[in-house]
Symmetry: C2
């Protein structure tokens, strides 16, 4: 009995989190159907049914079984298609633990600070959050130097788990740079991450998957206009 | 050349997070030195050096190399001692993804709500957080029924990853019950989790590792007294 393998990814085009499983699927040469969700309109029945806890993208649906949470999906892809394409997580337990440690740092400490800085109304809170963001980038610079050991990626010669995790935010950072002139990755403070970012964004797999920087900048501008007009109405 | 294997665990006796690697090491029959940290006095040089990012316990130090973050340590133990003792994570990628999804739910959504409820001064915020805690337990009840398929643990016949994750909080819940008469795991609302909790806490490995409920209750009482006297001084 031949099994029909069906792989579907629910995402939104501008989401850093949705970029992650896309890169992983491309690295593993897995064919999939991509379904664009409309988070500003109404979420699809499929999304609500597949991720009842968070109702968020991305969701990977593999043979009708959903997997939620972006890095969880990337690990699932790595383990499910373990014989096709490069390994996404390193092979040694200690290197795997380092990848998971730093990716959790990015998702649970560094990016929440950046998000807070973007949305808070308090100038004090914004300044404090931006300090955390910059301090976090210095820590990530050190982590990169120590983990990559002179190679181009956290994953060594090829893109790995931690590259996907942090790299998924690069388009957003570049879009903020375009919009606000705010340069977070800076040649003098984080030279290795700057070089890494260039390599990551010009990688063939990544180039085909990430949205265009100016489109994301345009989208962020629209979000700000909406937020301002909502604030002026209230 | 014989390698001297040195395994050291830095923890504090009352920490749910420090219970996790202890259970994992016991499941894998790994001998280790346990070092009790004093988080109210001064943290040891070893802790500060081993976990410079968070400066928190638990830290596992294996042959001088530190691994931080409790669930990350449990995965590391599972992968490093993969041929001794039972597997902690399930073998199928989808079951692994489910374990990781629900453990992230516990650590990033459910427990933060319980923590907020415990420390907030606002009665509204407390009530809202407790609603989230109770709603979370209903979701975990459903998850347990669906994942365990009639077996005693999330991990099936034996304690697995998600059992360690949620189970590590049980002593704290029981201590709060003793202290405040607050019964979060309730026979009528979460019957399967109640039964699971009983099985988990009476498991031989767990019994040897978790602190006594009345000692934790006493510790929580002291913390409250300290917080009140600090508040009355300020």
């Amino acid at each position: 009995m031949g099994e029909i393998m069906e792989v579907k990814l629910l995402g939104v085009w501008y989401s850093p989190y949705a970029i992650r499983p896309k890169i992983a699927l491309h690295l593993k040469s897995v064919e999939y159907d991509y379904v664009e969700e409309d988070l500003f309109g109404s979420k699809s029945e499929l999304l609500l049914k597949s991720n009842p806890v968070y109702k968020k993208v991305p969701v990977l649906i593999h043979n009708n079984t959903p997997v939620c949470e972006s890095l969880n999906i990337v690990e699932y892809i790595d383990e499910t298609w373990n014989s096709s394409g490069p390994s996404i997580l390193p092979s040694h337990p200690h290197d795997r633990a380092l990848s998971r440690f730093w990716s959790s740092f990015v998702d649970n400490k560094w990016f929440p600070a950046l998000k807070l800085a973007a949305i808070t109304k308090s100038e004090d809170a914004k300044a404090k959050a931006m300090e955390e963001v910059e301090e976090g980038l210095l820590q990530l610079e050190d982590a990169f130097v120590s983990i990559s050991k002179g190679k181009p990626f956290f994953g060594g010669e090829a893109i790995g788990f931690m590259d996907i995790c942090l790299g998924s935010f690069l388009v957003l950072l570049k879009a903020r740079e375009e919009l606000k002139g705010e340069k977070l990755l800076d040649e003098s403070r984080t030279p290795s991450l700057c070089k890494w970012a260039g390599k990551f964004l010009s990688d063939d797999t990544v180039k085909n998957v990430v949205p265009e920087i100016n489109k994301v900048a345009e989208f962020l501008r629209e979000l700000e206009v909406r937020a301002q007009s909502a604030a002026s109405r209230s």
